[in-house]
Assembly symmetry: D2
Homo-oligomer: 491 residues x 4
């Protein structure tokens, strides 16, 4: 079984980059015990033999380990990134050459992703991972697309659904007046497809067994589609696995939030007043990390339950307006919009740090800041900008208001991603091998698999699990081997 990598853009096929990337993969594999355990467990049975996976997820070193795990389980894979900036080029290159490190290693995977794509390039790449005609040709097969999507944010899924819809309508609509550049690029991609084929996406949709989705945003889109009855194939919501949401959000942010602050500013966190907007899992992780570095943390919340948790955890809970003049470090952790407005920024201390580790880019009103009369922007270094305000003070904005743990540091560490990605692999196996269990709709993984993901990560941490006796299992009414909790259990 050979992946067709010859169509991969030349910039991704750089052997020097690839060599550097292979080094990093080897270290990352050590920190991704869940994926490596799956490789060992399924080496013989090859549960993904026959699977054709189109991936759309940040093309990082960790994702490279995910991709090679899918391949190790028998799958054919094509990959794009789900963000124009997030590709680590050496990781992309390493995956293309495959473990053997030769240009056309049969285990090399076609990757369509590089750091700094244009929007047109982005959608071209997304389209490429859905085009399996070359593979079909090589295999003498009659399919044209993937049978599985592994998605992050839902762009690949969107492309299939819109393509299917427009093919049904016979035309791609005009971009509306205020359409974003991104939306125009998407429509242009679909127009090109429709020009070339009147039923390409219709056939792709029909060939798809389903999609596994990584994030809140993508799951939200899937639920909307399911609620409207327009979802074309089953979806597994990986995002809400406990070992994804509670680990990625809390422990990942605990690590990467202070890493971003440190790399961006080198400012001592100890003794500073840090304001954490939002006390969900992300805010909990950020607050714990900042306290662990000796900051005084003030939290804001809209949800009274989370607010009460913050108070019980010993944090001052205040509205931003009340304490705006005390803040040294602001971190947005809400998933909401305009949490820090221009009016707030004008109230901050001189050189207060403004940053975001929430889900979206509009938590900080960067547009408003840019538009403020009299404001001056000075680049301190890439991803660190001083905005000199008309009031004579400055604020220090990290990653232009986008996720600073990604922009100023390297995002979640491998071990955290290993949890998320082990869920992804198990979800792909579920769809591929037990399709009957997943009718069209949005599903979560069975708890026993969530527990399995955790289980695979314990030995690396030296954790010794206790085993229930038969008597004990009977006493609480669970199987000895799990699952151990009801679905409503909150951990």
């Amino acid at each position: 079984m050979t992946q067709v990598t010859t169509a991969v853009p030349f910039k991704v096929r750089d052997l020097t980059l690839a060599a550097a990337g292979r080094h990093q993969l080897r270290l990352a594999e050590h920190e991704m015990p869940g994926l490596m355990a799956l490789r060992a467990e399924y080496a013989a049975t090859q549960p993904l033999a026959g699977a054709r996976i189109a991936g759309s997820l940040h093309m990082t070193v960790q994702t490279a380990v995910l991709i090679e795990t899918l391949v190790a389980l028998g799958a054919r894979v094509r990959w794009a990134s789900c963000n124009i900036f997030s590709t680590q080029d050496e990781a992309a290159a390493a995956v293309v050459v495959g473990p053997n490190g030769t240009p056309d290693d049969p285990q090399g995977v076609p990757v369509f992703a590089w750091k700094g794509e244009t929007l047109d390039e982005y959608w071209w790449c997304a389209d490429r991972v859905l085009d399996w005609s070359a593979e079909a040709g090589a295999a003498g097969a009659d399919w044209i697309g993937p049978n599985l999507i592994l998605d992050d944010g839902g762009d690949a899924t969107l492309l299939v659904h819109l393509g299917h819809e427009y093919e049904g309508a016979g035309a791609v609509p005009e971009a509306p007046a205020g359409a974003s550049a991104e939306h125009r690029a998407l429509l242009a991609t679909l127009s090109r497809s429709l020009e070339a084929s009147a039923d390409r996406f219709t056939r792709i949709a029909a060939e798809l067994i389903g999609v596994t989705e990584e994030t809140t945003t993508g799951v939200h889109r899937l639920h909307e589609r399911a609620d409207r009855g327009t979802l074309l194939f089953p979806a597994i919501n990986v995002n809400d696995a406990v070992t994804k949401s509670k680990f990625d959000n809390k422990y990942g942010i605990r690590h990467s939030a202070i890493d971003g602050l440190n790399r961006a500013t080198d400012v001592l966190i100890g003794g500073k007043v840090a304001f954490v907007a939002g006390y969900g899992d992300v805010g909990k992780g950020a607050a714990e990390a900042l306290r662990g570095q000796g900051a005084r943390v003030i939290v804001s919340e809209v949800d009274p339950i989370n607010a009460l948790q913050a108070a019980m955890d010993g944090f001052q809970v205040a509205r931003l307006e009340q304490v705006i003049g005390e803040i040294d470090i602001f971190i947005s952790c809400t998933g909401n919009t305009r949490v820090l407005g221009v009016e707030h920024m004008l109230g901050l201390k001189h050189l207060a740090i403004v940053s975001n580790v929430g889900h979206f880019d509009d938590e900080i009103d960067m547009a408003g800041l840019e538009a403020l009369p009299g404001v001056t922007k000075v680049e301190i270094k890439p991803q660190v900008h001083e905005y000199r305000l008309p009031n004579g003070r400055s604020v220090l904005v990290l990653s232009e208001g986008r996720l600073m743990n990604l922009g100023n540091a390297t995002g979640h560490p491998s071990f955290v991603m290993s949890n998320s990605f082990t869920n992804q692999v198990l979800a792909q196996i579920e769809l591929f091998t037990r399709a009957d269990a997943y009718p069209i709709g949005v599903h979560t993984l069975p708890k026993i698999l969530d527990e399995k993901v955790a289980r695979l990560h314990l030995p690396a941490l030296g954790v010794e699990l206790t085993e229930l006796t038969a008597e004990q299992a009977a006493y609480i009414g669970v199987p000895v081997e799990g699952p151990y909790k009801r679905d409503t259990y909150r951990y």
Copy 2:
């Protein structure tokens, strides 16, 4: 509206005790802002006017504040304890005399509970709170029982269901051969009832609108009954409200576990090796408290997800057998059975402390310990016993293996109970005023009420809640006033 307190046993009608109790109630009210806020909010509308509530829940000072809140909202109430040892006599007496402190205050409530009941007395008390004939007589009414039960552990609910069942069968069955003393006492109570009336419990069951249940155990019993189709009336599961389970279990135990250790032993916790069996909410609270006192905490878990959480929180996760010889303080937090067996106790250090804050009494194999040949039991002080083992070492057992945060300290503090009990009052109001919304089955409170409970406790802690703008609420698709989260959100 006058409660009938004349039938209350003389020991509960002690004016000296009552005066001491009223003092404590006043202080407890200050720490129970949720209940006091409900009194203020509903003073005018009296939503429980007409409600006849039979309560079966530990008759403590906090429960006294709950009872008087129910009365302040218009309810008539009769009360028993759900444990033979847990009554605080001064609280019982205070409730009987009512806020005015006079023997027959019309706001006095009939209470059938005292510290140290026999099992026969216990079930007699439970039966008394279901007998509203005196009230009916005073009111010239034709009902004979309560229309609502407020239960903790499900004994009052059990009594009604068994009474109903045996009346249907026409006889109370013989106690089986190995029946416990408690079960025999229960059957005797039902026999007496059946002798006096062939349909008393049948009528009581018919009059009942529903029950609100406080604990895991009680909810478990309700689910079993609902699954078998034998549940006679609707039930609201208060236990699984976030503001109950996550607060009571975690923050309550964080407080009371070390309080119990300290009062029992006066042993310095700092520097000691503490073993926490189970890392659910109870274990999380215990582990945090012990670490906060400088102990080195080792955790055991059977559930790999919870185990991974413990590791991520920085705790060593080991099996009990691996580290048995290092442990100074053992705390069981599992809800399971024989977590600490005799074979473990024989491996502990000399004078290691053995204690339990889990849900049940059999987490520590006390029966096995008592039966061990050569063991000697020495009372150090009430609820603290040294067991001299045949191996020459001793263990120090708190509260004879029962919940030491109750037995050696005073259980959860008022503020924690205020959260639980505010849920109870809201659940009672729901059943009484919106019965149509709750068909026979086991329900949880709507999330908006859970959030309300939290909201009512924030001002006392100086928490200032942030309010969503209309734009922000629309952005995340929730009402400005909540609820803010999906039901699956884990907090």
Copy 3:
């Protein structure tokens, strides 16, 4: 060698009390590994054989273990308490009967201390432990007093110095006009002595090899005397041993401060705003404990270095006036006076808790509070009083403003006291066996002994110490066996 216990007041010679006390001693011995290790180490050599120790230190269970350690090392001992309230009667009784538990066990020790002494009784007791005539008679010796004092606060030392001074002057002075009742009682005691003998204290002073002093206050008095040149014999300052001051103050308070709060009030500490006045070792311990229970802690400081430490440890540092209206729990940890004045108390929240774990009783202006017009004092329970203020609010005062970790809980745990008392024993041995090394003046223990105290407490905690290689010791210029640090090292 027999102690003369027949002169001990009858109330201390209560066999029932003694039996209860022996139980507690046995448990305390387990938590005092330093003292038990000294007993083992010196069992054969009996370094205190010939020592006659007059002790004046709180007559608690822990002190009982200290006393019996001194006896086990060969000393004769007589004991009084250094506080009229601090005696645990069962501990006193247990020491009198000695390990064998018989009324005239030769190892029994004469104790002159009971809970609730009058001031006259207090000074009578202090005088008794300096009167060794009965022992001398039994031994046919020509001395009349002790050759060592073990002091806490310096009262025994004061008695000898004043007695010596007044004998020199030939008269005890009249009490000045505003003299306290305590001072009058002291003068009366000295008058009685002078009536009986013109040179008794002069002889006692001459017989004394020296004193070892436990506390800050006592050390302060010794330094004053040494500075004025009136110190009569050498003194070892035990208080400033690292294993005393840094452990007793920080880790002892970390334990006992929240223990006192809990036993006094049962109020949930989590989520509350706690104000810690002073961030010395005591304040550090209190702040850590409160944070460990989930309180939000605000600290006040006068010393900018300590203030900076508090900020670096993540605490808000504010003046009391700034935040007075937010405080739920006030704990004074300063060693200063009128830290919480009446004007502050009038600004506190309703039912705020007011307490003191500092060194002295006047941190909280209780006199001012008592004198405030319109104030009412209500006893909630012993050592817990509600003061209803004229502004309609109340404050809850613990232990009437005195040390609440002693008054509402049981003070420092045995393990902490074992550190302090092991220093005491080593100091007594130093004075007795190496008197030449300690000329008149105030000395601290050699660092090697401080390290030894720590060393003796490690095995009980499972600590495995690393040993320097010869190469490493040479590299940093210290002996392999210590001492390892310069005297100025701050730990």
Copy 4:
């Protein structure tokens, strides 16, 4: 008063670098409030007018702020780095051009330092900062050297002392057989000086008022010289100011240790087993930071007092050998040698991280590792090397065993250095303006200045200091304005 910068090597006079450096200085100034406060306080009085300061201290951005503070107080300054790798070139360049940023700003300072000096260049630079002949010429003065040294590690002081000694002997000795390359370079520099002048260092020594020394090593050397009676001028030990040692070591490491780990490896710290060798201030900071990130921390200690502190702080204390196979992250914090030997490295887990934040480079036996037969070294990235061991496992060594918080991150943050450097400036002022108070010997700063350093850093953190009342100051016997503690106080 003009500094003579024309002799500065061309590479330090790079205007592009300088512009980048000025940016960073401006941000650093915001984080160095102590230095900026001194500039404001002493702007008018110019206490260092007439001072000629030769500095030898890492030429970083923070040091640049220090240098410009000295200049702002009136001093002339010449500067070298005290480490061949530690210079930040843009900081050096920025200092040369001075605040105005022009090539020959009169406030520009001659700097002789660049990243990656050879050993010969290093000693040449050190010699240059002691050569003030150009300045003397410009000023028409008859001195030839500095009158103050600001030293870090003592190399400038060593150069003067050896120069003086060899001039006295008339010759520079031959390098002994096994002399290090560094020692040979030093001797060569001195030979060149002696060839040029027979009494240059003798005159320089005579002109020197004294030296202020930054580090443990340098202070150690000064004490040795003072003990042998060969110290030529007074020295102030800045290292042991509380606001230096307790802040730099503990809070600086708390920040930079995890920063170094993160930048080097991106490995998730949470859940890992971290081994901290040494629990002095450095180890305390590292352990706190690691725990704050969710690691399980095991500590080793040789000093029983520090070991007991670690246990009381809740850490497992073990010997390295006991737990070698459990360790994921090793951090040496001892100041000792061969703490991690090759035999240990062979026992570590695969890909365990090996790092050092102690005082010296030989804590990890890198020489032994390099010499191990069969070992292979692979560079992962600069300062991160994988050593493949003959046992098939690898270790990941940071910064080749040198201080990884410097090599892999950016060392202590500005705020921490502001504390240290404010001490330095005050020490320089002390020596220059109150030379009589400091005879030849090694002195520490008066406590009131230590407190002043802290005081100057409080406003930036929002700390509000409490002021003693006159009554309170009298009560504890200190002046209202400080100093507040005895010299032996340990903080």
